[in-house]
Symmetry: C2
Subunit: 191 residues, 2 copies
Amino acid sequence: MNNNELPIALSNRHIHLKKEHIDVLFGLDHELTKMKDLSQPGQYAAMEKVDLEGKKGVIKGVRVLGPARNKTQVEISKTDSFALGIEAPVRDSGDLDGSAGLKIIGPKGEVVLEDGVIIAARHIHMHTEDAKRFGVIDKQVVSVKTKGKRAITFKNVLVRVNANYALEMHVDIDEGNAALVKNYDLVELVK
Amino acid sequence: MNNNELPIALSNRHIHLKKEHIDVLFGLDHELTKMKDLSQPGQYAAMEKVDLEGKKGVIKGVRVLGPARNKTQVEISKTDSFALGIEAPVRDSGDLDGSAGLKIIGPKGEVVLEDGVIIAARHIHMHTEDAKRFGVIDKQVVSVKTKGKRAITFKNVLVRVNANYALEMHVDIDEGNAALVKNYDLVELVK
């Protein structure tokens, strides 16, 4: 791995749930069951899945990520937003005011979400030590170059630095497929 | 439109059929029915649709484009290739040797296609006069910049120059969604 390189990962559609919504969807005081750890420390893919219903369509079997959060957040792609028939904005994680809504369907109940549905803006997680190596700071905006036949340069990539983060760029499935990259492919950070 | 700008268009999955396959899928000597003209002179979207079946899944209602060609060519996105369970390569139009296969299902019959399924490589159609304006030649490879929140630069963009072409960049749905562009948005050609 060269000094300006980092691995990329494609985020498929998923949902982060707050406790109250886990209760409604899966039953009172239900605890999420870890299926596997994700690359970001403490985060995991749960065994639980839900269906998402928009005005135009339903997407079944959407993975729940744990642990529970303070606010429910659904992350989909632009392709998914067309299939559901909703107008989800491209947003940074947690920036949910005025974002899209939909119905979440679980085995024990349903939640009508007024907002919380976004297309996650591409971003880079990096540990404090990585930030020193790249010479960047938290919330800096950089570009990232991919290689190969469908080589592209992603502009407006937000860098998030935290002592709990592992070095990784996150793009959604549309972005990953457009660049024809796979998980753990190396990409180049450009300031 | 600035001197280095051109409109972009998103190509959804579609199929070009040779006459023998139109006969099998829609009946002997069936003539495609024009639904609407496309931006490239002489090309049209037909009323006819087919289903595509791969190892893993089926995509229903895929639009046939006319007129008939010498060889059947199916153009899908990487996202579609996962849904179908086939390994379609990124190729220029017409470069079909060793590309992917699938089953085409029409109202009157089915065709098992050995090859002909590609993910179309992004490209620019331009008239001879446009080529002079941009200072490029047929088969030149350029880059293209998009604007906005998801601004990206597409590298390896093939320029096709012909007196019958209308100025337009073609990307697939994955690429269009990754850049968050819509049909007729203006993008910038970079040599």
